[in-house]
């Protein structure tokens, strides 16, 4: 663990129309660590996650106040290009959403889009590397040109991870990546997260406290749009400071 600050969220307030979704959130995300966001449904975990790569820009009624600093630069600054930002910050969604294209084209989409490759060979390399990183290559190497949608749910999700890795991001945001998967596929994704944190900073939203305990270094507990408590995962789960956190992790609410 490098203990280097990667993303700093400062006094973040988010409104959807008249409804406030996040209240004064402050959070530090360390480089090459897994930070998990836990909390009951509707507490603002996903909203917070989407603010980090400005996916909320697409929601017209969304209004963001406060600062999110990526390597000490404000990502909401006028000079920031959201396209370049999303290249640096990859995202994996709750439901596996491969493009209706071949496995190869799914992974090759990002590098081609950003003009990262000059030759077919380079592109092939990136595709193989990304699929290997997501642990999918051995399973699909003989059928790279079959549609991505022909894979199983867990494989599709790893394909989506490979697709996100192909543009060489610094941060990987995962929005409940295992909620649509069975326990075996979930275990594979969790192993993958443990491997990926050697190279990437990962923020994961999860509903499963066991998963947060298994995969993350730091945990942030959110409740009703407020960040209640944040700290090392071990200490949060063994010795929560706040009453609401205690209630949630012991299963009294949520």
């Amino acid at each position: 663990m490098s203990e280097k600050l990667k993303v700093a969220i400062r006094n973040l307030n988010v409104h959807y129309g008249n409804k406030q979704a996040l209240f004064d959130v402050n959070l530090n995300i360390m480089e090459k660590e897994v930070t998990s966001l836990i909390g009951p449904s509707g507490c603002g975990k996903s909203t917070l996650l989407k603010c980090i790569n400005r996916m909320n820009d697409l929601v017209e009624i969304c209004n963001i106040k406060g600062q999110i600093l990526l390597d000490s630069e404000d990502i909401n600054d006028e000079n920031q290009d959201p396209v370049l930002l999303r290249m640096k910050i990859g995202m994996v969604f709750q439901k596996p959403n491969p493009f209706p294209k071949s496995i190869y084209d799914n992974v090759a989409f990002g590098p081609k889009l950003h003009g990262m490759v000059k030759s077919k060979g380079e592109l092939d390399n990136i595709v193989v590397q990304s699929l290997s990183k997501s642990g999918l290559y051995d399973e699909v190497k003989d059928r790279l040109f079959e549609p991505g949608t022909s894979l199983s749910g867990g494989q599709q999700q790893r394909l989506c991870i490979a697709r996100a890795l192909a543009v060489n991001p610094e941060i990987l945001l995962m929005d409940e990546p295992c909620s649509a998967l069975d326990p075996i596929a979930t275990a594979k994704i969790e192993d993958l997260i443990a491997e990926l944190k050697q190279q990437y900073t990962i923020v994961i939203v999860t509903h499963s406290m066991q998963q947060a305990a298994r995969v993350s270094d730091r945990t942030a507990y959110m409740h009703m749009g407020e960040l209640i408590e944040t700290g090392m995962t071990k200490s949060i789960f063994s010795n929560p400071q706040h009453e609401k956190t205690q209630d949630y992790i012991t299963g009294r609410i949520g």
């Binding site: 790569n53 396209v83 999303r86 959403n97 491969p98 209706p100 990002g110």
Partner: protein, 405 residues
Amino acid sequence: MNSITARNKSEKRFKMYGKVAVTVAISFLVILLYNIFSSGISAFKQTYVAVQLDIPANLDKKTLNPRSELNKSFLKMFPDLQSRAEKRAALSLLSKGARYEFKDLLLNNEGKDLKGYYWFLASSDLDMYIKGTVKRQGDTAGRIDEYQMKLIDILQSKNLVELHSNKYLFSSADSREPEMAGIKGAILGSLYAIIIAFLVSFPIAVMSAVYLEKIATKNRFSDIIETNINNLAAVPSIVFGLLGLAIFLNFFELPRSAPLVGGLTLALMTLPTIVIAARAAIKSVPPSIEEAAIGLGASKVQTIFGFTLPLAMPGILTGTIIGIAQAIGETAPLLMIGMVAFVVDAPGGPMDASTALPVQIYLWADSPERAFTERTSAAIMVLLGFLILLNLTAIYLRKKLEKKW
């Protein structure tokens, strides 16, 4: 227990209502189709009369007057005819088109003997009698008088009257003589108009749908546009005809009766239909795919053209073809811009005066001659064929472009 039997009964009753409704609908369709086919199928055959020719090879065929020569040959077959009235009655058994057929025959047989029986187009009165559309009553049948009936009996006894396939139906445009009238002009006119309507309305409608659905900010202004588009789809088509008349003919001074103007007018009419279908199709594209593309750093336009539009395309095309099929059967707006004209030549291009299939049907249905009745039905059959073809294309495209995710 009682309530369960009552419930089962009501389910059975409901199923029966459904079956009855479907049966009634299908029987109406069958009656309609039977009606059209039974009266239209005879238009694909045409009565021909054999005329004995005796023209030697050494005769210069260019100097011959085809009309008088044909009449002479025909009358020679009936030596008993004396009075002018009898002769005139005999000659009216042949169509006016027969002399053109005879002229072609002469030109194609330069320097050859023309001896023996050759087939020539019969008049529509004879045609109607041979086909049994007009029944014989004593010595007359419809417009056929007793002189003609005598000759017909002679011709029939020598097997000199026959039904051949109708080559005029698809190879000529409209004519005052029913036996020479065809739908080539109408088909070409419809085709040009539809191609122009598609080329104009499709890109405009799809771009409007993309803009309204994906790019425009939702405010009072976009609400007004949306309401207006939905209202436009319900505007009577004749109003679009008036609009076309005012804009394309009076303001831009484009040629009257041209398929170009017809196509543009139909495009106006089809526009709201396609916009509505395209918006629904775009709306039904799963947002997860678009999110994935945007999450990878694709811009809005890249996402729309890379994913949203290709995934929405089957729905857009289905809507477009429904709109085009509606336009192909539309008569009222074409009446307003002058495509209701009597045009004897098939159009050579979209700027030539022409009519369209539904308008041709309307014109023929309005004509007094009996022989136009069967042609009306034949033209309806062709129009239905067109529509079936379009719908099959829609189904094929949808199946081909549909992707699972």
